[in-house]
Each structure stands twice: as structure tokens, then as C-alpha cells.
């Protein structure tokens, strides 16, 4: 369950041609081509889905649970990410989608957007108290959270120690059902995810003692099923319990809107995210209070499990402004202590790039890397199976590959 190799991206080895497309684009250098196949170094994978987007042969498969796994439970609750809403054209009523979910076999729906409004509320509390180091970095995108824990250890203390909106929604959904007297073992709460990063985060229970989801479905799979049932819906029941502020979390800048002040920065796309984190390390963003970072272009609507182009989806989300109340989290019905929204377990910094635990040995290795790198052609051609000459030199020193794999060195 906690294994990244089963919960982020998997390889269809028959389709993989070893063409290096994914390897060159992986933002954490987590892919190597070995024996003609793209192999993921899972301890470096942040689940961003970039390799899925880039593969011209559809050989990289995002992991998620099959839709029919919901029927393993007697009482099924759908917990859709707000990006699901952005997939539909000309949607005037969010309830149409939610009614569609009931039509597909769910007994109830609990929107992640409602969880998002509750997280915004707690974020505002925290910012008012001013105890956390500024700028505060959002923890909502698990790909970014993993990236910080791997590469930006000095910024870990800036990260908002709150669980994901989906975790709030999943746990509240389960509690509501239990309060109705449904036996706990009959209840299945299913998150509908825009990306592999969230599949991994929700299935492993990042920040929690145990995972809150019984399963995680993909937005695209659910979307196609919805298309066939939605036109048949005659009577639309009112199910939605969220306002536009929660739904806007689906696109970059949406979470920042919820803090109700303007000294924030919202960056999307993994390259931009890295640039902002680097600038923070260099002490350049000290005048900012809140930093929202989304690994995907345009935010979660850009997640690789969506169907619609992220820019289109973003416009649609914005257009819902006229159809939804501004804020509608039914806070009074929730009534949870503040701890409920906070991490139960603090995600740990990971030493995946560290050369050795002994400093002197690490320095020797670094020297060897510099020496080998100096001899390489600096073409970053990928022929050796590593994403760059630099990464290749590191791999050689770490004993992962041998120097003769580079065929373009001058002898």
C-alpha cells in the first residue's frame, strides 16, 4: 500500500521503447533507461505525472483503483476533487455532476471543495496567530511537498502543517455515514483524483496515522462514465455543500484567494515551482506571507488524470462564480477541534540525493564526480541511460552504471 511503485506511475514494458522522452523531462531525475527500458527510481519520484504526459508510446501508466472497486463496499461515498467540475462544458449546476455520481452507484457525495474551504479557514487562523515562519508554503500539492522534503530541507519549517482538503473531506464523509448508523466496515470512501501524486498521498495517508481513503479513482475514468449518465438525469437533487472559494482550489491561485489578503505568490508548473523554492532558499521572498505552489500547469486542473485542457478547465471553474455562493462550507455542521485539520504525523525530510552519511566519504565521492564529469562530452544526450552528463557521473560514482556506457567520450 505504501509502495510508490504501485501508487504513482508504472511502466508497460512492452510499450516502452527506451526513447528517453520521459527521462529527459522528469523534474527530479528519477528515471534511467536500463536495458532499453525506462526505469523509475521510486525514492526520487514525486508523482508529478510529467513522464505520463511526455511518453509518446503511452507506456507510462498512472496508478489508481479501478472504478468497480467501489462495489466492494455496501455504502459508497464519492469524494471528488474540484477539478472534476472543470471537465464539463457549459455546466450551470454543479449538482448535475454530483447527481451523476449517485447515478453511477455512489450512495452519497462529499466534495473535496468543502474540505478546502475548511482548510482555508484554518490557514487564516494560523496566519493570524503568526507563529509559523513566513513565507508560509502551502502543503496542498503532495508533489511539491515531496519535492521540498527531498530537495529543499531548509524550507521544511515553512510548510503549512495541515492535511490535504481531500483528507478532511474523506474523514468527515465517513463520520457522517457512521452517524447515520451504517456499519463502519460497509462504508467505502473514494477520492476522485486529478493526479498520481494525490493517488500516492491519499493511499498512503501522507500526514495521517492511517490513510483516510478506501480507494482512489481517476477523474478521467469517472468523467467518461458520467458523460453517459448525466443526460438521463431528470430531477436534480441539491447535494452540493460548497461555495466558489472551495471549487477555485482546482486552479492555481484559488487557494491563495482563500487567505483573504494580498501578500501571496501563486506559482504553477514544476519548473516555476523549483524557481520559487530556489529564490526562497536565497532569502529573496521574505516580503511574501503565503506561497501557493502547484506542480501542474494551471494547478490541479492540469493534473495528468484530467481530460480537458487545463486552460479551458480553469476558465470554466472561474465561470462558476455566478452559479455558486462565495463561501458555503457548512462549518456549523462540522464543528471539529482545530487539531483535526493538522498533520498527525509530520512528513520527514528525505536524503535521496545525499552521497554518503560520512562527510569525508561524501567529499571524496563528489571529487570523483567532478573528475568524471570533466571527461564527459557535456552533450546531455541521454545515450548512456542517464538524463544528463552530470547525473551519469553521479551514477558511475554510486556504482549504478559504468563509464563505458558513454560512447561519445573522446578517448
Amino acid at each position: 500500500m505504501t509502495d510508490k511503485s504501485l501508487n504513482t506511475v508504472m511502466l508497460d514494458a512492452d510499450r516502452c521503447k527506451g526513447c528517453i522522452s520521459c527521462m529527459k523531462r522528469c523534474p527530479t531525475e528519477a528515471i534511467r533507461v536500463r536495458n532499453g527500458k525506462a526505469k523509475v527510481l521510486y525514492d526520487r519520484c514525486i508523482g508529478c505525472g510529467e513522464c505520463v504526459r511526455m511518453c509518446p508510446h503511452q507506456a507510462k501508466l498512472p496508478a489508481y483503483d479501478p472504478f468497480d472497486s467501489i462495489f466492494d463496499y455496501k455504502y459508497r461515498i464519492a469524494v471528488p476533487a474540484p477539478s472534476l467540475i472543470g471537465q464539463f462544458n457549459n455546466l450551470d449546476n454543479v449538482d448535475l455532476v454530483l447527481n451523476g455520481l449517485i447515478e453511477l452507484g455512489f450512495n452519497d457525495v462529499f466534495e473535496v471543495a468543502r474540505g478546502a474551504e475548511l482548510i482555508s479557514e484554518e490557514t487564516r487562523n494560523i496566519m493570524r496567530e503568526g507563529k509559523l515562519k513566513k513565507p508560509i508554503i502551502s502543503s496542498a500539492c503532495p508533489a511539491v511537498l515531496e519535492l521540498i522534503m527531498m530537495k529543499y530541507h531548509s524550507l521544511a519549517s515553512h510548510v503549512l502543517d495541515l492535511v490535504a482538503p481531500a483528507d478532511v473531506a474523506l474523514r468527515l464523509a465517513r463520520e457522517e455515514a457512521e452517524a447515520k448508523g451504517i456499519p463502519p466496515e460497509d462504508i467505502g470512501v473514494f477520492f476522485i483524483s486529478p493526479c498520481p501524486a494525490k493517488v500516492y498521498a491519499l493511499k498512503t495517508g501522507m500526514g495521517l496515522k492511517k490513510p483516510a481513503a478506501d480507494g482512489v479513482l481517476a477523474v478521467n475514468e469517472v468523467y467518461f462514465k458520467l458523460l453517459s449518465v448525466m443526460p438521463k438525469i431528470k430531477e436534480i437533487k441539491h447535494i452540493s455543500k460548497t461555495g466558489i472559494l472551495g471549487v477555485r482550489w482546482a486552479a492555481s491561485g484559488g487557494e491563495s484567494l482563500g487567505i483573504f489578503q494580498d501578500r501571496y505568490l501563486a506559482a504553477d508548473g514544476i519548473e516555476n515551482v523549483n524557481n520559487v523554492l530556489r529564490a526562497m532558499e536565497d532569502g529573496n521572498l521574505n516580503y511574501i506571507d503565503f506561497v501557493e505552489l502547484n506542480a501542474c500547469t494551471s494547478g490541479c486542473v492540469g493534473g495528468v488524470l484530467n481530460v480537458e485542457n487545463p486552460f479551458v478547465a480553469r476558465v470554466r471553474i472561474r465561470a462558476l462564480r455566478h452559479k455558486l455562493p462565495p463561501l458555503d462550507n457548512h462549518l456549523d455542521e462540522v464543528n471539529k477541534p482545530r487539531e483535526f485539520y493538522h498533520w498527525e504525523v509530520t512528513p520527514e525530510a528525505k536524503d535521496v540525493y545525499k552521497l554518503d552519511s560520512d562527510f569525508s566519504v561524501a567529499i571524496e565521492k563528489m571529487r570523483a564526480i567532478e573528475q568524471i564529469y570533466a571527461e564527459l562530452p557535456h552533450l546531455d544526450c541521454g545515450g548512456c541511460g542517464a538524463p544528463s552528463c552530470r547525473a551519469f557521473a553521479e551514477d558511475v560514482v554510486n556504482g549504478e552504471t559504468t563509464l563505458d556506457m558513454c560512447t561519445r567520450r573522446e578517448q
Binding site: K151, H153, S154, A156, R278, E281, D282, G283, N284, A349, D351, Y353, K354, L355, D356, S357, F359, S360, A362, I363, E364, M366, R367, E370, E394
Partner: protein, 140 residues
Amino acid sequence: MSSLHLEFDVAGNNFVSAGSASDEVKKTLKMLGVDPVAVRKVAIAMYEGEINMVIHAGGGKASVDIDTDKVKIVLADEGPGIPDISLAMKDGYSTAPDAIRDLGFGAGMGLPNMKKYTDEMHIDSTVGVGTTVTMVVNLR
């Protein structure tokens, strides 16, 4: 004792590559497993020093020595030099022209921050000859 020596050319008036030397050093320190607090100090101090060479001195050379107990950064340029070092060290003092301020630099906080984030800092400067800034961040 094990140590590692790194050298970089810092191009003058190139705002695209500005900061790349300190970025490289940051990456190296992380791979060596240096404590994050020390990495941050080196990052901030070296970035400011590097930018100063780009803006005020038309570029220069950065050399970094990483030892088990400290990181030593030497930034040497052949720019105009600093006539009054103690004045330059004051919070808010800057001679940056408007064009540079428009880029978001020139708050006069670079040198004071370099001092703040390092354990030792020394400036050697001769007008018309150049400036050498030496900084040390202790690792334990």
C-alpha cells in the same frame, strides 16, 4: 583532511545566469549532506555576493572550499572597488542606478545580509583595482 574546491566564472551584467554559481554550490552542499541551516546561510550569502559582482563589478570569479568543518567562499572581481567599506556595509546604502532598482535590486541590504549569515566576512577593496570578499560559514 578531505576538502573540495570549486571554481566559477561569474559573467558581468548577465541577469539570466546570475545566481547560477551559488545554485551549483547549494546543490553540492546538499549532496554532501550538509546541515540545511548551513546550506541556507551559504545560499543567501553567496547569492548576494554573486549578484554584487554582476551588478557593481562587471563579473568576477567565485571560488569555494568545502571542508569538514567549514565552507569558505572567495568572490574576487576587477571592478571599480568600494571607496568606503564601512559606509557600504550600512543597511540601505546603495549606489545602484535606477535601471538596476527596476529589476528589484539595490535595496542596500546585500552586504549586511552577507555579514549576518556568515561566521566570518572580510572585504578587501582598492578603488580602480577590484574587490575581494571572503566569507566563512562554520559547519559545526
